[in-house]
């Protein structure tokens, strides 16, 4: 088991954003988290990736409790995330953005950087980043400054940066937001390819087609509470989930 999350809670001045939530994620799983707006999904990601510290509860990752660890330490352990809103190194090109993602795989040493030429490392980081960009199909754009790329492209770059970190588990927060059907399909392919290389994927998404299509297990949260858990088929039929989240039409 990869994650064993027990009784996790986090509140903001009275609002219980995550409220006594427990679930497990197995290694290699494609895991979905869905729920109404404000249910606490993003907060859950923030807790798992160390951007927020839980009020109580435990997040055990391969058997060790990681509550209180800083984000960069967790990235080193392979827990990598993307953000719900676009979050990029503005003013830089696509390539430069993804090279930043190769920080850990090509970790610089300060002393070496001062006294020894690091051209080789730099070069290999560049090549690595280009590979990743190729992987998400953005090669044509690699030298463009990211600031004004279309929304969907920005989201892909966000994913590319995360992939460059060589994650063991990749947490994606609404990766398909702002993409049309075609592009979403592309994205699904990318995620599947990543998954095939052995990476565990945790997905928050409101695009039900995508979630149902991809995920093996789904957790549904509402008001910070887990209200359902199961396979897509199970969840889709769950009365609670229909009432709180899916509505009549789905």
């Amino acid at each position: 088991m990869m994650f064993d999350i027990k009784n996790l809670s986090k509140s903001f001045g009275g609002v219980a954003a995550v409220n006594d939530v427990s679930f497990q994620i197995n290694e290699g799983e494609l895991f979905g988290v869905i729920g109404p707006n404000g249910a606490g999904k993003t907060t859950l990601f923030n807790l798992i990736t160390g951007f927020l510290k839980a009020d109580s509860g435990e997040i055990s990752y391969f058997g060790t409790n990681v509550v209180g660890k800083r984000p960069n330490q967790l990235v080193q352990k392979g827990i990598v995330r993307t953000f719900q809103s676009t979050n990029l190194f503005l003013g830089n090109t696509v390539l430069e953005n993804v090279v930043m993602g190769s920080y850990l795989t090509h970790k610089p040493s300060i002393l070496k950087n001062i006294f020894i030429s690091t051209k080789a490392q730099e070069q290999s980081a560049l090549e690595y980043a280009e590979e990743v960009i190729e992987f998400v199909g953005m090669s044509a754009y690699k030298d463009l400054v990211v600031d004004n790329l279309p929304y969907g492209h920005k989201r892909l770059i966000g994913i590319a940066i995360a992939l460059a970190c060589k994650p063991k588990v990749l947490l994606l927060d609404e990766p398909a937001a702002g993409m049309v059907e075609d592009e979403t399909k592309e994205l699904i392919n990318i995620i599947k390819k990543v998954h095939q290389t052995g990476v565990t994927v945790v997905l928050i998404e409101h695009d039900m087609k995508m979630v149902m299509n991809l995920c093996e297990k789904i957790t549904v949260v509402e008001f910070g509470k887990k209200i359902a858990y199961g396979t897509p088929q199970e969840v889709r039929q769950d009365e609670e989930v229909i009432r709180a989240y899916l509505g009549v039409e789905s």
Partner: protein
């Protein structure tokens, strides 16, 4: 061919180096030496400050570290009779150590709050020295600081100081340049660009911020020691936040996107006031006007002039279109 020789980075460095080493042949008066020595001092400060700035932090504490360096070296030489070289290096080291300790606490502050706390720090250092009595000399400071002596050779001529300052400057520029033009530099700029995302790709941002802060402080400490032994008199009066502002001006008016910026900025804003000096009581007025105009009309300081010239040069020599660059402003 010639053009290739001139455009290689390394060759450019070598050429400038040779010019600087030979320059004393052309410097005719001690006054120019004095200006140049002060210029080198300002460059050391400006370049090392730029290293901190690359992490996105505007520090007003540079002058505090300079003061710490100046007093450290002075006291070690005068009271404990340490050899100059040791005191000099210890001045930098102590400033850096203090920077690590202070940095651990203050580097979580951002933007203007960081500016403010470093300002407070500077004032705390200055007021502490002013209110001290005894060893630190209080408000009156310390006089009669001996000239530096290196390996038995006493530096007491202007030429001597020229080469000594130049050597320290060269080391400063070399190290800062190497850091900034490497993967570490990329990381530093990444932190300044987007802290959250840097963290999300595994960067230990405090480590790098503290490193840059301490490295900057190290050189500021050295600069302080240089200053003390050149000037032979120091007092808290020399370490007010006004000097920190000067360092910022060197950078912003010079341009921050490249190390050439602070170098240009400190050159121009050290030499220009000397030109204005003959305006006597109008000197400062003219200086401030020059400052206002350069800020108003130069987007990335003096670097924009260079960029402009380069562009002109390029568009004449080849007609290949520029790599498209999106405008960030709507």
């Amino acid at each position: 061919m010639i053009k290739d020789v001139l455009t290689s980075r390394r060759n450019q460095f070598i050429i400038v180096g040779i010019i600087l080493v030979l320059a004393p042949l052309l410097i005719s008066s001690d006054y120019y030496y004095h200006v140049v020595v002060f210029l080198f001092l300002n460059m050391i400060l400006a370049v090392s400050w730029n290293l901190i700035f690359q992490t996105g932090q505007v520090s007003l504490a540079h002058v505090a570290f300079m003061a710490i360096g100046a007093y450290t070296s002075t006291l070690l030489v005068m009271r404990l009779e340490y050899p100059f070289l040791i005191s000099f290096l210890l001045a930098g080291v102590l400033a850096a150590i203090l920077a690590v300790i202070i940095g651990l606490i203050v580097l979580r502050l951002k933007g203007i709050y960081f500016v403010m706390i470093t300002f407070a720090l500077t004032e705390i250092v200055r007021l502490s020295i002013t209110n001290s009595t005894g060893t630190l000399g209080g408000a009156s400071g310390i006089s009669g600081i001996p000239y530096p002596s290196l390996f038995g050779y006493q530096i007491d001529s202007r030429v001597g100081f020229y080469y000594f300052f130049l050597a320290v400057l060269a080391v400063t520029i070399f190290i800062v340049y190497r850091i900034l033009h490497s993967r570490v530099g990329r990381v530093l700029r990444g932190i300044s660009n987007n802290e959250t995302l840097s963290q999300a790709v595994g960067v230990n941002i405090s480590y790098y911020k503290i490193f840059a802060f301490a490295m900057g402080a190290f050189f500021a400490g050295l600069a302080g020691a240089l200053y003390a032994h050149y000037n032979t008199h120091i007092s808290p009066h020399s370490f007010t936040f006004v000097r920190s502002f000067d360092i910022i001006i060197f950078n912003i008016v010079g341009g921050t996107s490249h190390l050439l910026g602070p170098i240009l900025g400190s050159s121009i804003f050290t030499i220009l006031p000397e030109f204005f000096r003959s305006f006597a009581d109008y000197q400062v007025l003219v200086y401030s006007l020059a400052l206002i105009l350069s800020i108003l009309f130069l987007k990335d300081g003096f670097l924009s002039i260079i960029e402009g010239v380069k562009k002109q040069f390029k568009s004449k020599s080849d007609t290949k279109p520029e790599v498209k660059n999106y405008d960030h402003h709507v």
